[in-house]
Structures are given as C-alpha cells and as structure tokens.
C-alpha cells in the first residue's frame, strides 16, 4: 500500500493567498497531483504543506489575446486538447495532448503542472519550447516572464522560487506558421521513448523561423538549437528536413534505459524530427491555401 507521508493541506482562495502560503519552505503546489502524489507515495517528494490551487478559476483559461495564445496554468490537458483556438494556431498542442497519459488523467492533470513537474519525458515542455512560449510567473512583488526554453534548470527543477506560482503560458501567434508533434512510446499512455515537435514559420517557401523540441532524449532546454540554426533561411524541402533531423539526432544526449539503447533513440529523433517538420510545413500550406 502506497500512502504519502504526513502533510498539511491548505486550499488557496486566491492567487495572492496561494503566494502567501507558498512562502513557507517545503511547500508544494498541488493541482492535478497526478505526478506529485505518486512521487509523495514513493517519498521522492516529501513536502510539509500542500497548497491546493484547484479552486483558482482565474488560472483556468485558454484564449487568444492579440498576437498571443494564452494558456492558464490550471487549464486541464483535456481543455487544451479540446480548445479550437489552440488547435487552429498550434496543432502541435493537440498532437502532443493526444498522447499525454490517458483520457482520464488528461481530464484532471494540468498544463502548468506538467511544465512545473519538469520531467525530462514530459511532452508539453518540448512542445512549448518549440513554439518559443513564455512562462508567466507570479510572486508577491508582481509578475515576471521567462522563456520556456529557460524555465527548466534540469530534471524536476525549474526557475520557480519559493513564494512563486506559474500563472500562465503565452505563445506568440505568427502568420504562416505550421506545427506538429510526433511521439513513439511502448504502449498507449506511456512516456515517450522519444518525441519531436516542430514549429515552422514560412515566408515565400523559405523558413523564416524554426522551432524543434525534443522529449526524453537529453536535449538541452528540450530543443534542437543546432537544427533550428540550420533550417533558418533555407528553402522548404525534403533534403533540408532530413539534414535538420540528422543534426537534431547528433546533438541530443539520450540515455540507454529500459525504453531502449542510445542508438535506437537517436534513430527515433531523426525520424520523428523529419516527420514533424514535414507535417508542420504541410499544415502551413494547407492554412494559407484554405
């Protein structure tokens, strides 16, 4: 029988209330709890106080606001998967959400919780990194923003400090953009063996900006920066995508584990990056001709 250790529990009634509760050391936010509570059962996490933010409806939104898609930290995975506005501008989020855990977990687990869990195998970190999203962090002195690419300090570690709370994620919406996410896992609902996300902004057949996110393969900041550099300014095409995919596979650092050896994971990175780039480009074309 797995039971968490003794813990105190407080329910936040407002963001300000949450922030004041979070100023105490050894305090963790609980929202979906689908990563934190299993970790508490295993004593991999042993907070003294849990702050339940599930009542903070002001953090549960998904909306397009000017040139940005804004996703509240408390939006559930199922909300993002069902969001038409998110799917229109960033099909990568629908691709990724479709393969996050299972439908029951997605109803309860949150987008912000996934990012804050900072699990190297978690899908949304790479998707948001590919889309060059920004994390909005609230603290008692106000709000600060940090690119998702700099949000994670390492496995299970983020820039969020004591007394701070991830409030939302903002994703810049640019015309001529297409995106996709491709994942291989051992079975439905499992973590990735490897996965790749691509966000392409095209201008007259040329790649104006490229974002490539990689999951579970030890990519720094969840991105393939060298492959992005290669793509920028080049013509869209199969050879270009294959070369970028090769670069992405060369520059990541997968670890051999029960999900497979290193060379297999590099092979997956190359294949999945190429597929994601192809689909992302096809989606731009489809959009601009629609």
């Amino acid at each position: 029988m797995q039971v968490p250790a003794h813990v105190e529990y407080e329910r936040a009634t407002s963001v300000e209330h949450a922030l004041s509760l979070l100023s105490r050391p050894e305090t963790r936010v609980v929202a979906g709890g689908h990563s934190l509570i299993p970790m508490m059962k295993l004593r991999l996490a042993q907070p003294e106080l849990l702050v339940d933010i599930n009542g903070l409806a002001e953090l549960a939104f998904i909306a397009k606001d000017g040139g940005q898609l804004r996703i509240g930290a408390l939006a559930r995975h199922a909300d993002l998967l069902e969001s038409a506005v998110a799917g229109t501008h960033f099909p990568i989020f629908h691709d990724a959400e479709r393969v996050v855990a299972d439908p029951i977990v997605r109803l309860w687990g949150t987008v912000g919780g996934s990012l804050c869990q900072a699990d190297p195998s978690e899908d949304l970190s790479a998707a948001f990194a590919a889309a060059r999203a920004t994390a909005v962090i609230r603290g008692k002195d106000g709000e600060r923003t940090i690119p998702v690419r700099h949000f994670h300090l390492g496995p299970y570690e983020t820039v969020i400090g004591r007394g701070e709370l991830l409030a939302e994620i903002r994703v810049p919406v640019k015309p001529g953009t297409g995106s996709a996410y491709e994942k291989v896992s051992r079975r439905v609902g499992d973590w990735s063996i490897a996965a790749a996300g691509a966000v392409l902004t095209l201008n007259g057949g040329k790649i104006q900006e490229a974002g490539i996110g990689l999951t579970a393969v030890g990519a720094e900041h969840f991105v393939a920066a060298e492959a992005e550099d290669y793509l920028r300014g080049r013509e869209v095409g199969e050879d270009t995508f294959n070369e970028a995919a090769k670069i992405a596979a060369e520059h990541c650092h997968p670890a051999a584990d029960q999900r497979g050896p290193e060379d297999f994971k590099r092979h997956l990175v190359a294949e999945l990056t190429a597929r994601a780039l192809r689909r992302a480009a096809a989606r731009v074309t489809r959009e601009s001709t629609a």
């Binding site: 797995q2 039971v3 003794h6 059962k41 299972d102 439908p103 029951i104 977990v105 309860w108």
Partner: protein
C-alpha cells in the same frame, strides 16, 4: 493532525475528520464503506479506482480526499437509479463484460461518462476512452461490446429485449 472534510457521495452528504494525506479511494472504501470502487495499482495506471469528482471521472488513488472537500463524488454504487441498473451495467450483464470483475467499476464509470458526452461512440472512441484502464481478463472485446450495447439501449433493458447483443 486531522482536518474536517465534507462531500456528497452518490447524493448523500458525509463529513469526516481525516488526515490530509488520506487518498480519496481509501476515504470512499474505508471511511464510507463503499467498496464498489476498487483500489488497484496505486500508480494511476490501472483505472480500477475511477470515480466521478463533480462531473468528471478521476483516478481516486491519485487524489487526496481533502481535494474532494465540498465536491460531489459519484461511485459505481451511484449508477443504479431507483432499483434500475444503468444501461452500462446492463450492457456488462448482457455482453459478459467482466470475468474477475476487478476493473469493472472503473470501466463502468468511464463508460457512463463517455456515453453522456458521446451517446453513439464507435469502437475506436470506446477503446480510446478506456485506454487508461487495464483489464487482465477479457482482452477488452466484451467490455467494448458492453459499452456499445449501452449506447444502443439508452433506456436500459426494460423497454428492450434482454439478451440481445449488437
């Protein structure tokens, strides 16, 4: 240290003093004696513990009872209405949707939710809906048939022909 929590379970109000670390599944089974919901893998993989929290199915081994304070919970005991089995329950009877029965309560709670949102799901939708739940007996075939039966008999067996399988 305990805290006072109160919630509605299958329409009945319950209040208890519990430790904050108490999991919802143990609250339902051990504190309330509603043992229809099963405690399985303890890792939110198997889905035997699925109950509804407000209007959504959740894996109750991965939720604290305290998180359900002030909310409404529905368990498998709440499927039957006025002595009438829910069509989902009837479907599992008609199509032999269970063998050992351990996963069944969770399967049925998810199935009810699916049919409330998609009254006419195809096989792929049913399989997707229950993909977070594990059955070690049936190979899922009869579970899928049972849920299809419920979709085709929304009024249950009373007005239909008992024993008719799709």
């Amino acid at each position: 240290m305990t805290i006072r929590i109160a919630m509605t379970v299958n329409g009945t109000e319950y209040a208890r003093d519990v430790e904050p670390r108490l999991l919802l599944i143990h609250f339902i089974r051990d504190e309330l004696g509603l043992t229809g919901s099963h405690w399985g893998c303890d890792t939110s993989n198997c889905g035997s513990c699925v109950v509804w929290l407000d209007a959504k199915p959740v894996k109750s081994c991965t939720l604290l009872a305290a998180m359900a304070d002030g909310h409404a919970v529905r368990t498998v005991e709440g499927l039957e209405q006025d002595g009438q089995l829910d069509p989902v329950q009837q479907g599992f009877v008609e199509c032999h949707g269970l063998q050992c029965g351990f996963c069944t309560p969770g399967m049925m709670m998810t199935a009810r939710w699916l049919l409330d949102h998609h009254p006419d799901p195809d096989e792929a939708q049913i399989r997707e809906a229950i993909s977070g739940q594990i059955c070690r007996c049936t190979g899922y075939e009869n579970i899928v048939r049972s849920i299809r039966w419920a979709a085709e008999h929304p009024a249950g067996a009373s007005a239909e022909h008992p024993g008719e399988a799709p």
